[in-house]
């Protein structure tokens, strides 16, 4: 299975956006700026997450051929951050029966941790959190502010692999029967639970894996 994941990871990556055209391309992205602003600065997507927005996310949501995407890779730099704001690559990676697998890799400067998660959510419209299928952390504590990380998620009906450069690769293999998701929300962005902040994060060189 590891070989499967390795060969899976070796090919199929396509550049989705390197933000060199100077603006957020509306053909590629849907902007959710409910708790801050998203712009392009020096060829990178800049997320300025504002304080005062508990349980809210700032997102660039993939809008082009999203049903074909089974992996996301990006370069992430947290330039400055206050409070519990975390940076992430996230989305729905599959389904167990009628429930959805919300999957992400998160960079959290407050706890100085990088962690992966697969949460099982109920069906729409509420997508109620049911239980945690998997959670994992890389070596910590780790300096996040001021560092640049190459990070990726790859998912299939066998499992999900997460990678943060120089920290190793984590793979979670399902024992449950997992089917392809019918909800293709995938995004890069920031989120705060307590409404703390502000936080400035740059994303660059976003690749997608298309089998």
């Amino acid at each position: 299975m590891l070989l499967g994941f390795s060969s899976y990871a070796a090919a199929g990556w396509e550049l989705y956006d390197d933000f060199e055209q100077g603006t957020i391309d509306s053909q590629k992205w849907i902007k959710d700026e409910s708790c801050g602003t998203i712009s392009v600065e020096n060829g990178k997507a800049k997320f300025a997450h504002a304080s005062g927005h508990p349980n809210d996310s700032l997102y660039l949501i993939f809008s082009s051929n999203t049903s074909n995407i089974s992996g996301i890779k990006a370069t992430i730099t947290v330039a400055s951050c206050t409070g519990d704001v975390r940076t992430r690559i996230a989305g729905y990676s599959g389904m167990i029966d009628e429930n959805y697998l919300w999957t992400g890799i998160q960079f959290e400067p407050l706890t100085r941790r990088i962690y992966n998660s697969i949460a099982v959510e109920g069906p729409p419209p509420t997508y109620e959190g049911l239980y945690q299928l998997h959670y994992s952390e890389y070596r910590n504590p780790i300096q996040i502010v001021g560092q640049t990380f190459e990070s990726q998620i790859l998912f299939s009906d066998d499992g999900v692999s997460f990678e943060a450069n120089s920290l190793g690769k984590m793979t979670y293999k399902f024992s449950d029967e997992v089917s392809a998701t019918d909800y293709f929300f995938r995004a890069i962005g920031t989120r705060s639970t307590e409404g703390q902040g502000p936080c400035v994060v740059y994303f660059d060189n976003v690749y997608v894996y298309v089998p």
Partner: protein
């Protein structure tokens, strides 16, 4: 002369047959086998000394109805009790066992653990464990300095768990499987998936062959009763080329 020629031909055919069989055997061993039963605790009321060394510093360990029973005692913070594998532990690279927590107080956990390698001069200690206070199974690897002082976790991972109130896992039998190599560490629960960590750093073999099954508490926790059963080990195998050479020379 004719007889000799026929014998030679027969011998040649036999050798080809032997090599073919040995190749298939080696292939089969490397593809499918590897796990071997280490102990099912059905041989009597005491532990076999060629298989186990006991550390009872924080638990009473006995055999009960064909299972190894740990009764972890209260008031032993940061103390572990062990059934230590002593039968050729150096070549053990995987352990599988049934683990069942019958009762618990506090944060005592039942685990399979040991040294799995080194990064530089530091040791890598890894475990897969059942943690009833959290209602889940977990796995991790830690980096320890040469004097066994904890430096940091290399990774930490959990299997399925509930939000809020932890699930009641008393008397649930987990089949835990733990496997390691210089490239990765894998921990598996048979009904809750598998977690695999792949190193970025170069990893060398551990100098310590310590591997064990046991219980541990961090605080003044206890008592806790944990059963282990059906212990299998996965041993490093000699390479196919080495096997063929050995066969050829025999």
């Amino acid at each position: 002369m004719l007889h000799e020629s026929l014998s030679r031909k027969k011998m040649k055919k036999f050798n080809i047959f032997l090599y073919a069989i040995s190749f298939l055997l080696v292939l089969a061993c490397n593809t499918f086998a590897g796990w071997e039963l280490y102990d099912d605790f059905n041989s009597g009321s005491s532990f076999e000394t060629d298989k186990w060394s006991l550390d009872t510093s924080s638990a009473n360990i006995s055999i009960e109805n064909g299972e190894a029973k740990f009764v972890h005692l209260p008031g032993r913070p940061n103390d572990s009790s062990w059934l230590i594998l002593v039968k050729n532990p150096k070549n053990i690279v995987g352990i599988r066992a049934k683990v069942r927590v019958q009762s618990y107080v506090g944060d005592v956990r039942g685990r399979i653990a040991g040294y799995v390698g080194k990064i530089g001069e530091n040791s890598i200690w890894s475990a897969v464990r059942v943690r009833p206070s959290r209602g889940r199974a977990e796995t991790y690897a830690s980096i320890l300095a040469p004097n066994d002082v904890y430096l940091n976790d290399l990774f930490f991972g959990t299997f399925k768990y509930n939000y809020g109130q932890p699930a009641n896992i008393l008397n649930k039998t987990y089949i835990l499987e733990w496997y390691f190599s210089p490239a990765d560490i894998a921990a598996k629960t048979y009904d809750q998936g598998e977690i695999i960590f792949e190193y970025e750093d170069p990893v060398s073999p551990s100098e310590s062959s310590f591997k064990g099954l046991g219980t541990r508490s961090i605080e003044l926790d206890g008592a806790c009763t944990v059963y282990f059963d059906d212990v299998y080990v996965y041993r490093k195998r000699t390479s196919p080329a080495t096997n063929l050479l050995l066969l050829g020379n025999s």
